[in-house]
């Protein structure tokens, strides 16, 4: 009997591993191609037959990006904006999610529906009036302008997710705090938030990504190179006559490395250990 269990386990393990490898190929091959392109000479990108590593293999593209002050400024701007957006959005979304999850109040459904559907307007039609508004508010070509814009885009998602995560936590947790004389505020920050960290980290990481990769409004709301972000920097390499393929890919790769590192730092939160037995009736 023991051997059957063991073989079953090994088979299962092999099965999962195979699945993971196939999935990894699906996920990773385009990125591998990006990497390969970043090392090619511009004339080799369209060569047939396509090769992973070409004769003109070089780090030139990377050196050009890293040596270009304007491009480096783009990276800095992207970080400042994305980090601010993540922090502020999480804060605001936790508060709002708490309201939706733990309270009943008039207009609740309407406000909830408005928040959800507000992100449904095609951004391209929103650009012109939104731009006019930002100019009128004096936020044109500023960090705060970009930050609040990205917040407004990420809040609906963040609120939906925080509400959902908070909803999975039983109300008994709040009650235990209230019974001890705490307020809703205390219940939120002392008990609920620490438990929902995996969910919050997921929301935070995705908020960062959205802000980091956003293009249309980052372009429209900025005017000068000292305010622009990485996606704009990449598109600047798509010229009228040709693309600087290797530099575009190099910039994308460079842009993704720190984000990857961020993810690596926070992904430990995803590893289990937080839940078994955490919630006792």
């Amino acid at each position: 009997m023991a051997t059957t269990v063991k073989t079953r386990r090994t088979l299962a393990k092999a099965g999962v591993l195979t699945g993971l490898i196939i999935g990894a190929l699906f996920a990773g091959l385009p990125v591998l191609w990006m990497l390969s392109t970043s090392f090619k000479g511009n004339g080799e990108v369209f060569q047939t037959p396509p090769r992973l590593i070409t004769k003109g293999f070089s780090f030139d593209a990377y050196l050009e990006i890293l040596g270009n002050g304007a491009q480096l400024r783009f990276f800095l701007n992207s970080y400042i904006v994305a980090l601010s957006v993540t922090a502020l959005t999480l804060l605001v979304a936790i508060l709002a999610g708490y309201a939706f999850s733990r309270f009943r109040f008039p207009f609740q459904k309407t406000i909830n529906a408005v928040i959800v559907s507000v992100q449904a307007v095609p951004p391209i039609t929103l650009v012109i009036p939104y731009f006019g508004l930002v100019v009128a508010l004096g936020l044109y070509n500023t960090y705060p302008g970009l930050i609040v814009t990205h917040m407004v885009f990420t809040l609906p998602y963040a609120i939906i997710m925080t509400t959902a995560y908070l909803n999975t936590l039983p109300k008994e947790l709040d009650e235990s705090v209230k019974v001890d004389g705490g307020s809703s505020w205390t219940a939120l920050w002392r008990i609920l938030v620490p438990i929902s960290v995996p969910g919050l980290v997921a929301v935070g990481v995705y908020t960062f990504m959205i802000s980091w990769n956003e293009y249309l409004f980052a372009l429209t709301l900025t005017r000068t190179d000292d305010m622009r972000t990485v996606p704009i920097g990449i598109q600047l390499l798509m010229g009228q006559h040709s693309y600087e393929w290797n530099q575009m890919m190099a910039m994308s790769i460079l842009g993704s490395i720190p984000v990857l590192v961020l993810f690596l730092l926070f992904q430990r939160r995803f590893i289990g250990g937080l839940t078994s037995g955490a919630v006792k009736a």
Binding site: V16, L95, S117, T125, L126, M161, V179, A202, Y206, L216
Partner: protein
């Protein structure tokens, strides 16, 4: 076979104690207090421009000429009878449905594989990194690299031909028959990490004792999945599905940069239609009308979502 459900969540039990009127009022206002920053931001920065867009949709010659005239519902009539709009509606429906289902299935499959107890932490961590890669790149680069790979003389055809799976290079993007599927595939690739990470976090939140109880009852893995995992993940799944539908319906840059809505309108979706109306035909009024139509369709979706939230 006992069916496994989550422990019943106790109804809210606000302690009823004699309070002064002031505290009751304050208590009623508490949720609004929590909501205030959100409401402030969204009202000022979203609702105002949206109202302006709605305003545009009722006028003619908006933006492109200094004076605009009131036009009633004319723009809506024009938009809803435009064959390109209707084609866009159909393609959008296919695009978002297939994308959403694929995102969900892939996301869940990957999340469960990454959550397995059968493999070590390091292995799982390595795979996790690979799986979130599509997330890290801006959509313009994703569009451009997929175009490069899908070129008739590109690497995908090369690999398929070398493996003997196809005889001649397929014109993936230029053939009206395959264009929409290919673009959807690229969209699935770029979007599944969102589902995967959210579901992974959700999986972490499922109490282990539920699975133990299931084991005690002799449940098979499939039964555990159906009766523990799925119900526990339900709120997260539904939220993400709604979000994904909304986001995918707005996906513009990926399609625009891969095919521009062509060939022969095969990949024309509502977002490309709206863009062309606004910045190529300079018809901001009809573009706004199209936007309002999309908004209305989404609000229906939003109401369903909110309703099911209540029924928890």
């Amino acid at each position: 076979m006992t069916s496994l459900t989550a422990p019943e969540k106790a109804p809210p039990a606000e302690p009823e104690t004699p309070q002064s009127k002031r505290s009751t009022v304050a208590r009623r206002l508490t949720p609004f207090g929590y909501l205030s920053p959100t409401v402030l931001l969204i009202v000022v920065l979203m609702v105002v421009p949206i109202i302006m867009v709605i305003g545009y949709s009722f006028r003619d010659n908006v933006i492109v000429q200094p004076e605009s005239e009131f036009a009633g519902l004319a723009n809506y009539a024009k938009v809803l009878s435009d064959p390109d709009f209707l084609a866009g509606l159909k393609n959008t429906a296919i695009f978002i449905t297939v994308s959403m289902v694929a995102h969900l299935v892939l996301g869940l499959a990957f999340a469960m594989m990454l959550n397995t107890k059968l493999l070590g932490g390091v292995t799982k961590a390595l795979f996790r990194i690979v799986y979130i890669l599509p997330w890290l790149f801006t959509i313009a680069v994703i569009a451009v690299i997929w175009r490069l790979m899908l070129d008739p003389a590109g690497v995908l055809n090369y690999v398929l031909q070398t493996l003997g799976l196809i005889q001649q290079g397929v014109d993936w993007l230029g053939d009206p028959g395959t264009a929409l599927w290919v673009v959807t595939f690229a969209n699935v690739w770029s979007g599944y990490p969102f589902f995967m990470i959210s579901l992974l976090a959700g999986l972490q939140g499922i109490p282990g004792d539920l699975y133990e109880a299931a084991d005690v009852d002799g449940a098979s893995p499939i039964q555990k999945f159906r009766h523990v995992t799925l119900p526990q993940l339900r709120p997260v799944i539904i939220s993400m599905a709604v979000l994904d539908l909304i986001w995918t319906s707005q996906q513009f840059a990926l399609i625009w940069m891969m095919t521009g809505g062509g060939p022969l309108n095969a990949t024309e979706v509502l977002s490309t239609f709206t863009y062309k109306q606004a910045f190529s035909e300079y018809e901001f009024a009809t573009a706004s009308a199209a936007a309002v139509v999309v908004l209305l369709l989404t609000m229906i979706l939003a109401f369903f979502y909110v309703r099911q939230q209540r029924e928890r």
